[in-house]
């Protein structure tokens, strides 16, 4: 059966999830990447129209179009490389109380420790599958921080069964991609003799 997380997300909703599990998200979601993390963590500035606490963010910079009525809609919105946010993510999780961080690929030890300490998870959406993701966005409800430009702005949207999201860091601090990397490194030693 499809496991769906609904915002606001409680600790109970995610505490038993394990790395490798597939989940979907229904409710509110905001994009937040390099510049957004800097603004929150370094400048202590928060958006007006989105609540990070018990919420979900998406490391992504979309293409946004306008329909015939001038209403904005998601054209393409795939995940961006989460690892770029590693330097700021642990502080972001601590300061904001965000529960689910969605992106591409893995993150490192500092983020995994923060997930364990503050009860959050990181999930990976399949990279590049941007039209698939856009189809799960029901509406763009707001946009903030457009001074960063389209990719870096904070796009706030309502999503329905957004996924598949593969849990890559769970609330115990287990880390799927770092585990995988160990396997790849072992195989590497087999071919480099």
């Amino acid at each position: 059966m499809k496991k769906v997380l609904t915002t606001p997300i409680t600790y109970d909703q995610i505490k038993d999830l394990k790395i490798g599990d597939t989940v979907y998200l229904t409710g509110m979601l905001a994009t937040c990447r390099d510049s957004g993390h800097r603004r929150v963590v370094k400048d202590g500035i928060y958006p007006e129209h989105f609540e990070f606490r018990d919420g979900a963010i998406f490391h992504a910079g979309p293409i946004v179009g306008k329909d015939e009525n001038g209403k904005q809609y998601m054209v393409s919105i795939g995940p961006t490389t989460s690892r770029r946010m590693e330097a700021a993510e642990a502080d972001f999780i601590e300061q904001t109380g965000v529960r689910v961080v969605i992106g591409k690929g893995g993150m490192l030890d500092k983020t995994a420790e923060a997930c364990k300490k503050f009860g959050a998870i990181h999930c990976a959406f399949p990279g590049g599958c941007a039209v698939v993701a856009a189809q799960r966005v029901e509406e763009i409800t707001n946009v903030e921080w457009l001074d960063f430009g389209m990719p870096e702005a904070l796009w706030i949207m309502r999503v329905n069964e957004f996924g598949p999201l593969v849990v890559s860091i769970d609330t115990k601090g287990n880390n799927l991609f770092e585990n995988n990397k160990k396997v790849y490194k072992e195989r590497l030693s087999e071919v480099l003799d």
């Binding site: 591409k104 590049g128 941007a130 990719p151 995988n180 071919v191």
Partner: protein, 299 residues
């Protein structure tokens, strides 16, 4: 070149950019289908399923298949008798801005240091343009590459000691892929350049990446090394998308140049599963021929 003629030229290039963002080139799509069909792992099959859904939806809805439509990079082989040399740069810049609005593409270009987004993918020395002259020809061979962020992150060059040899090259490439390739949306296209210094090796690696999948270097020893590295990288099994499966790469291409005896420069450039590159010929009467996308647009 009169105004109507220039408008036509801009339109041709703008449509070519849109095509490259929405449809994969024939060789890239065929390579993905091949890996998707041969994959045995259940979760890996699910990921390939998602990728194939995305390709289908992008075609149906006429939308860029990945939101990161990159910084546009043009590689031109221009016949010395091509009549529009004066207008070429203008046309490429105007077409980039036009396609950004009309396709639409994501406006990615930010100005150096200030990070201000220009809003139309045109900025200081952007899009990137590289030109080679072709004697006794009146054609323009136009190749375009969308340099996305995620797939550009693993790229690097290094100058090895010659005694490190081929083993040193392999070690450099494999360690880069294990550490950085897993986040760059594998299965990857790998371009490797071997030259004298870091920048020329890097440029050769880009040239290698632009070569179609399935082609081999004309030097048999280099071609054998391409096969060997491809086999080794596939043994790592990082695809699809770093989750792990039966393969890692769509291709390994190597380009090299005669080098200094005291240095062994190596560069690596990676393209994601959604490697978006296009190739077309524009004749002097502005009639065109699409080379890269003969089948995939129809599919």
């Amino acid at each position: 070149m009169d105004k109507a003629m220039k408008e036509k030229f801009v339109g041709i290039v703008s449509d070519f950019i849109a095509m490259t963002g929405i449809y994969l080139a024939d060789d890239v799509e065929a390579a993905i289908l091949r890996l998707a069909e041969s994959e045995t792992g259940e979760s890996a099959k699910t990921m390939y399923g998602c990728i194939l859904d995305d390709l289908k939806l992008a075609k149906e809805l006429h939308r860029p298949l990945c939101q990161d439509t990159g910084v546009l990079q043009f590689f031109l082989d221009v016949g010395t008798e091509f009549p529009y040399m004066n207008e070429l740069k203008d046309v490429l810049y105007e077409a980039s801005a036009k396609s950004t609005m009309e396709t639409p593409l994501r406006p990615n270009v930010v100005e150096p240091l200030g990070e201000h987004n220009t809003g139309n993918n045109v900025g200081y020395d952007a899009p990137y343009i590289e030109v080679e002259l072709v004697p006794n020809s009146s054609d323009l061979r136009l190749r375009m590459y969308m340099a996305g962020g995620g797939c550009s992150l693993p790229g690097r060059s290094k100058v090895l000691m010659p005694l490190e040899g081929v083993e040193g090259v392999k070690k450099f490439v494999y360690e880069t892929i294990v550490e950085w390739g897993i986040n760059a949306c594998p299965p990857l296209c790998i371009g490797i350049g071997l030259g004298t210094c870091a920048p020329t090796s890097g440029m050769l690696s880009k040239k290698a990446l632009l070569r179609p999948i399935g082609t081999r270097n004309e030097n048999p020893a280099v071609a054998a090394l391409e096969d060997e590295i491809e086999k080794d990288l596939n043994h790592l099994g990082i695809a699809p998308l770093g989750f792990g499966g039966d393969n890692s790469v769509l291709s390994v291409n190597i380009e090299c140049a005669g080098h200094h005896p005291a240095t062994l420069g190596v560069g690596i450039t990676t393209g994601c599963w959604a490697t978006r590159r296009g190739e077309m010929i524009i004749h002097k009467d502005l009639s065109t021929e699409i080379i890269s996308h003969k089948n995939s647009i129809r599919g």
